[in-house]
Amino acid sequence: MKQDNLEKCKSVIDGDMDAIKWLFMKYQPKMFFFCNEFFHNDSLSKDLVQDSFVAFLEDHYKIKDPKCVVSYLFGILRNRCLKEVRAQAIRNRFTNIDLLNLQEMELSNWPSDDNILDRIFSDELVSGYRKAVEGLSDQCRRIISLSREEGMKYCEIAEKLNISQRTVENEVYRGLKVIKQSLKGFIPILLLFIIL
């Protein structure tokens, strides 16, 4: 973590209002994004992030090391997500037990020590991502951008580009694999955790 961020995290522990605002402004979008990847529900994700910040604030002064501030925040968020996954499973009377298992597995696969909030959208990663996208074939890049950045459905893209849906899916898959490769260099700790 950068030095000035560390200073800010120290002020967060001391309860400095400006620092808390900084933390919120910086991490709320990432946390929202992370939640939304699981729940695909904007208002639920916003609520979970809100709750996490409120919980964080109740205990912020107990954090000893400023380096841990963000992972602590992420830890809270991850636990809230787990709680929500379980609550949903109960509401659905466990009709989809494997979806619950899958979501629990995913959530517990993000180690909070090396937390994704600091990694995700860091400058290096974003430029790595951009480079990877540039290296894709024209069609693949086009499809990735329609699907991901514009949020179009696969069948809509197929119709628009006049190709089969199967082709669209294959291109998205191929594109993501390339992107994954490009990110690999940046996530050794995560991989290490999973392999160990």
């Binding site: 001391d14 309860g15 400095d16 209002m17 400006d18 808390i20 605002k21 919120f24 402004m25 709320q28 979008p29 929202f32 994004f33 992370f34 939304n36 990847e37 695909h40 916003k46 992030v49 809100q50 910040f53 409120v54 604030l57 109740e58 002064y61 009709t95 989809n96 494997d98 979806l99 298992n101 899958l102 597995m105 995913e106 696969n109 993000w110 994704i116 995700i120 959208f121 990663l125 991502y129 996208v133 699907s147 991901r148 950045e149 949020g151 696969y154 899916e169 998205v172 898959y173 993501l176 694999k177 992107i179 994954k180 990110l183 690999k184 996530i187 995560l190 991989l191 999973i194 392999i195």
Partner: protein, 340 residues
């Protein structure tokens, strides 16, 4: 590793799995760590590939304002000392032990940082809790103010209170903790107690939960009283008389956000309802004598009035949201007479 079907993988990444597909993916992931790892890294790649739209959807600025409302924070330029409530710096005039909070001074810049007391203040319907530098925890009821001077704190733990608060004081024999009230002073070493001293109320109540507290009446010699747990020091603001009585069992119910009617009338609860909801009750004579036994836990003013009207056949009310008043009167005919 068996290859995972592309379609299935994409559905996983997009969160559109149905039951059967979720089972298929889950059992595939369970086959090996490698598979699990693959899913996680694909998910991460997928997250990356669509980051711009959700960043806008996150609505961060709005969410921030929602958050500070929810947490009872106030955006200001001063540091909060390990508390998350609105500590607004202000200048307090302390004259002859009597405290004046002057709203006009609130936003002016203090002449020197040294003498700037920290004020913790709650509005209508708000409660707040704060941790003081020594670890003492204070919970503030609605429409209350607490102030202390962080500069003086090292030497003496002294706070000023208007309204109601409960204290959980950290033990420190070298520095007694004191609460200055206008007409008496409370000193403790480490204990839990509650002070109920709203301006305009007939009586003040200092109630002890555990430990020991001393009460000294200001300007009166040999007036030291010692309070034991389960008892309250009751100070009559009119006559200046005081006594020690067993604590009312509902003295602490506000900490759980409850309003308790214990054979009490709406007239007796009027001030409390105003502090919690901001509504003024206008009660006609015919209704002022009726007492109730009820506990409300987070209900709105509309719900409370609806319940009271239901259990009181001839009670009628009208809520005026514009002027924030509730008018309560006695119906001349009861519903049973109407139906006849």
């Amino acid at each position: 590793m068996d290859k995972l079907d592309t379609k299935l993988l994409l559905k996983f990444l997009d969160g559109t799995l149905n039951e059967e597909e979720a089972s298929a993916i889950y059992s595939w992931a369970q086959e090996s760590e490698e598979n699990k790892n693959y899913l996680t890294s694909m998910k991460e790649a997928s997250m990356f590939s669509r980051y711009e739209a959700p960043m806008k959807k996150a609505d961060t600025r709005n969410e921030w304002h929602k958050f500070i409302d929810k947490a009872g924070l106030k955006e200001n330029k001063n540091n909060l000392y390990r508390s998350f409530i609105n500590l607004a710096a202000a200048i307090i005039l302390v004259a002859g032990g009597i405290l004046f909070f002057n709203a006009k001074f609130k936003n002016s810049i203090p002449s020197s940082e040294q003498d700037t007391p920290l004020i913790l203040e709650t509005g209508i319907g708000q409660t707040a809790s704060a941790t003081l530098p020594d670890g003492s925890i204070i919970k503030l009821n609605s429409c209350s103010k607490l102030a202390y001077n962080p500069q003086m704190w090292r030497k003496q733990r002294s706070v000023l209170l208007i309204g109601e608060a409960s204290f959980d004081v950290a033990h420190d024999e070298t520095r007694p903790f004191s609460v200055q009230m206008s007409r008496y002073k409370i000193s403790v070493l480490g204990t839990r107690f509650n002070i109920d001293s709203y301006p305009g109320s007939e009586k003040d109540y200092v109630s002890l939960k555990s430990g020991r507290v001393q009460v000294n009446i200001i300007n009166k010699e040999n007036s030291q009283l010692e309070l034991t747990p389960g008892n309250s020091f009751v100070f009559d603001n009119g006559s200046g008389r005081y006594e020690i009585k067993p604590t009312d069992k509902n003295q602490f119910s506000w900490e759980n956000g409850e309003i308790v009617f214990d054979d009490q009338t709406l007239v007796q609860k009027r001030a409390e309802i105003y502090r919690l909801y901001g509504y003024t009750l206008q009660i006609s004579k015919g209704c002022s004598g009726m007492s109730y036994r009820a506990t409300f836990d987070g209900e709105s003013i509309n719900e409370i009035m609806a319940v009271l009207a239901k259990i009181t056949p001839n009670l009628a009310y009208r809520i005026d949201d514009g002027n924030k008043t509730v008018t309560i009167w006695k119906k001349l005919i009861t519903p049973s007479q109407v139906s006849r």
